[in-house]
Subunit: 442 residues, 2 copies
């Protein structure tokens, strides 16, 4: 059976009656103007009017601790990003077909985060566009079309990328040139077995593509395997995977939309934990702290091959305002020590969840790196039975206690802990103490 | 033979030696950091550091009259857009899964521009994403996959949209479910014949898709047929086309990335000139005056069908800052009378080109609506032989005289006249007089 990952934490529009009149009115306006494809979070949706640091504020001025939003990764309404955007927008906002220093300064600063590896940068506006472009590059360079993804991967919403995103569930068919492989599931298997399942799956997928006359173009992985259930281990796995896919003529694409920009704490990019050099690295969400900027870096020979045949012009991609936002984010991560903070507070938070697990048997496992943690909830630790209902209840109860969080994983039974990088130990304590209270009620 | 539309007005990197040392240095930095897929405009690329109104400024403070950039459509660095972005970015920038008024206010204001027709809005970050999503909606709703485009159409850069964009030339193969039809070419044919070729082409494309077992999903057209060579006539054509594609089970998608947001002068949207109601309308470039916002409106039953099966979440799409930028643009178009200005100055400019055509036989035809005009250059008016070299020379000479313009059309022999909407008659005179001088030299 294909697990249906349709948003576990979505508002059910049939439950409109229980809400405040002004919330009902807003939701009715949404339904009329935006229609069916938009979803709201929570049994009781939240209305926000202001954001600052690690907090969002409702119209009454109540502060919500944000443990979810990795887009405003360096803190909501970060003054340096706001200033950079405002200043550049007032000066010049144009495109990449004129000479302008902002894209060069930013591209060079970004490329410098790759530890001396030679890459070139291309800019888009969204992570979906970045992955879509990565597929175009990989297919052009390899001559293949086959794409291999993990079983519950999410890589974005363009046609080409959505058909490589099994996380959408059974209503969205995978592409005919797409194969899935198991994520390195270290909860149900030991590390060696998890790695073997992943690599054997990859070999089988390559063979199956070839058996169907499809040449592999790429293996693409979220380097923390987040939508598959957050699997940061075993380290080194991706180096072995890279070898296999390259032997088959394909490329390794590291999707850093989740793990990148210092979130993993120990490294700036998630793939660096695995000591591998991907052929293409894609990035998005936190890149402009909410300003729509995304992109990729790729080995020069890959971009050469593509660029000689086809021009690429993304109207808004790499514009001076987006580059100013991106540069402000890079600077803030460095100047404010946010990578170190992600490592320290991430470790503190992880230890805190592990301490909770000592008294609350509902917590089956705590996994993650830096400030991306998954807390897996089970009704039975031996049989590892997913506690989906309880997880949903916790998420909604946390919302009532003004803490924002969501669920993750194929069974919707994991707390998705993904706060802003300046998250403090006091913020962590607030989350841990509130969760402790809730778990006592279960 | 497939005409190769690779940028007629692109800088040739082998000509680096003739440029100023600081320009050479910037281009070398670009080549190293960004690689081969990025192109610069002009034999002598331009370096800009500031924009204001209808002018861009180089580092020496020289003003260039901008007759090209339709993104900063209401004027470069428009103070109201800058203020809206700065204010909202400092307050709150989050996503569509929380309640927020900005997306509702903006969606309602946008929907009000459709003259009472019932649509719903979905937001993306780029026009490419908007067209990509339109294809997903159309394919979901119709159950078909076939897409019909004009022979030199350009609809964007995602995989799915690029394979429907013959403007990229022969190096980018069209998708196997894509068919092309002639644009309504009123230069080589009279209006009745141009319309017949377009509609007969459409019928043939539908039949050919069906003959191959492919059900048509949509006909998508730029409502001014700009990359095909700017064909605003015959009005009414699209209503007839809509009938044909709907009879075959497909939808009409109006791509308003070029024609929309008041550019055509007489109407807010290009399709409104044709008195047709498209099933889906996509929009992009000018929507946020340079801020990355794009989107579509579609008939509610189309969005319903899609949204019930699949969720759609575009991380940055419809965020409060983007919506604030979009709202400022809508307000400025209204408050500053920019649609009326596009109509008046557009007509003035068109008449000016027609006057130039009386003395300069190089001008074969002047076409367009509002402030999107195409001036077709030919070496022989009888035989209509494209004057590509002369057109390229004019574009580069205009750049030396600090007027920014580009080429358009399958043969690269048209001046692409697409200034900002506040373009004045004095601006028009400057362009016309300079062009007159240049034409005298030919």
């Amino acid at each position: 059976m294909i697990k249906d990952q349709r948003m576990a934490n979505a508002f059910d529009p049939s439950k409109l009656a229980g809400l405040k009149p002004n919330e009902q009115a807003m939701i009715e306006r949404r339904q009329k103007a935006l229609g069916q494809a938009y979803r709201l979070f929570y049994e009781h949706p939240v209305h926000f009017v202001r954001g600052e640091g690690v907090h969002l504020y409702d119209p009454e001025g109540n502060a919500y601790l944000d443990v979810y939003n990795n887009v405003a990764s360096i803190g909501h309404s970060h003054p340096k990003v706001v200033e950079a955007i405002a200043k550049q927008a007032a000066t010049l906002n144009t495109h990449t077909r004129y000479l302008n220093e902002s894209i060069l300064d930013y591209a060079e600063a970004l490329l410098a985060t790759f530890g001396g590896e030679t890459y070139q940068a291309m800019f888009t506006c969204t992570g979906s566009e970045a992955n879509d472009l990565a597929f175009r590059l990989a297919r052009s360079y390899t001559g293949g079309t086959g794409i291999i993804v993990t079983e519950y991967a999410y890589h974005g919403v363009t046609s080409s990328v959505a058909e490589c995103s099994p996380a959408f569930g059974p209503n969205l068919p995978l592409g005919i040139h797409v194969r899935t492989i198991p994520a390195p599931d270290t909860y149900h298997f030991d590390e060696a077995a998890a790695e073997r399942r992943f690599l054997d799956g990859l070999s089988a997928a390559i063979l199956d593509l070839q058996r169907h006359g499809i040449r592999p173009a790429a293996l693409i992985v979220d380097t923390l395997f987040t939508s598959d259930g957050v699997y940061p281990e075993p380290v080194g796995l991706l180096a072995k995977a890279a070898k296999l896919i390259r032997e088959a003529g394909g490329l390794l694409i590291a999707d850093e939309v989740q793990a990148g920009f210092a979130r993993s704490g120990s490294h700036f990019w998630g793939f660096q934990r695995h000591q591998v050099v991907p052929d293409i690295v894609t990035m998005g969400k936190p890149m402009g702290n909410g300003h729509p900027i995304a992109g990729l870096v790729a080995k020069p020979e890959i971009i050469d091959h593509f660029g000689k045949n086809v021009r690429y012009f993304n109207t808004f991609g790499g514009n001076p305002v987006s580059c100013a936002a991106g540069m402000a984010v890079l600077n803030a991560i460095k100047e404010e020590g946010l990578q170190e903070n992600a490592a320290q507070v991430g470790a503190y938070l992880k230890a805190g969840f592990e301490t909770l697990a000592e008294t609350h048997t509902l917590i089956g496992d705590v996994r993650g790196a830096g400030l991306f943690l998954g807390v897996e909830m089970v009704t039975d630790r031996e049989k590892k039975i997913p506690a989906k209902e309880q997880t949903t209840w916790i998420v909604n109860q946390l919302r009532e206690r003004r803490i924002l969080i969501s669920t993750i994983g194929p069974d919707g039974n994991m707390l998705k802990v993904r706060p802003q990088l300046p998250f403090s130990k006091a913020n962590a304590d607030q989350l841990l103490n509130t969760l402790d209270d809730l778990l006592k009620q279960l």
